[in-house]
Symmetry: C2
Subunit: 120 residues, 2 copies
Amino acid sequence: MESSNDGLLDAAFMALADPIRRSIIARLSHGSATVNDLAEPFAISKQAVSKHIQVLEQAQLVTRSRDAQRRPVHLNPERLEALTAWIGQYRLVREDQFRNLDAVLRSSAASRGRQTKDQS
Amino acid sequence: MESSNDGLLDAAFMALADPIRRSIIARLSHGSATVNDLAEPFAISKQAVSKHIQVLEQAQLVTRSRDAQRRPVHLNPERLEALTAWIGQYRLVREDQFRNLDAVLRSSAASRGRQTKDQS
DNA sequence: TTCTTATTCAACCAGTTAGTTGATCAACTA
DNA sequence: TAGTTGATCAACTAACTGGTTGAATAAGAA
């Protein structure tokens, strides 16, 4: 698990690490929109917004189509699911940790603060 | 919703947009570890790993404590939850979209490809 | 005290990102 | 045809990121 689609995870997390791009995602979540529409709320140039959209597109968080001169942008929810799936892995493990917590607390290793090499 | 903790979202997504840092999270998900432990699997210097950990710490994805010379790193699952919560917002909206999909398909606006300004 | 281990700080370099402006392309409209 | 709109390309700059090495700090161990 991991490593095959590392690049896509990189790209998706990176893409969302920007408030403008997250705002674009939010806007798209209730309907597709053109670059012009998406650029309108921001105080930056349309070229800059176009670049942001390219970043989202490379991360496959959005797709694009053609409508005359327009290039409507659409949300691709599958990639968002991939992120929750990645995070979800560690939520499950964490629950295991809680399940074992009292056992750990009783062990001498924990009391000596050597919880460093207790596995692998 | 949004904008108050924008900075934390920025930092968290950015922090996870790196395979080394994601790998550190994965490692921490089954137990705390020191910088030395965390650095071991990687072909980069310990200083570099230390910087990665600082990035994770600033994003509050991990916390640190003190054990003699060691500074053990611990996973902070709450921040991971915050990310799934953010993404989850748009999953919900998307389900609304699906719920309304047939209605949209019947409307004239959708057939003309003008799904651009159909709200706000 | 001196030595060793664990970690960080500081300065630096190479590559990348986010923004700019100006020109260009693509497709509709008069 | 010429003009307009929507979007991208190209070149550039400023700021940041990820890595390096070498020195410094903190805490045990001899």
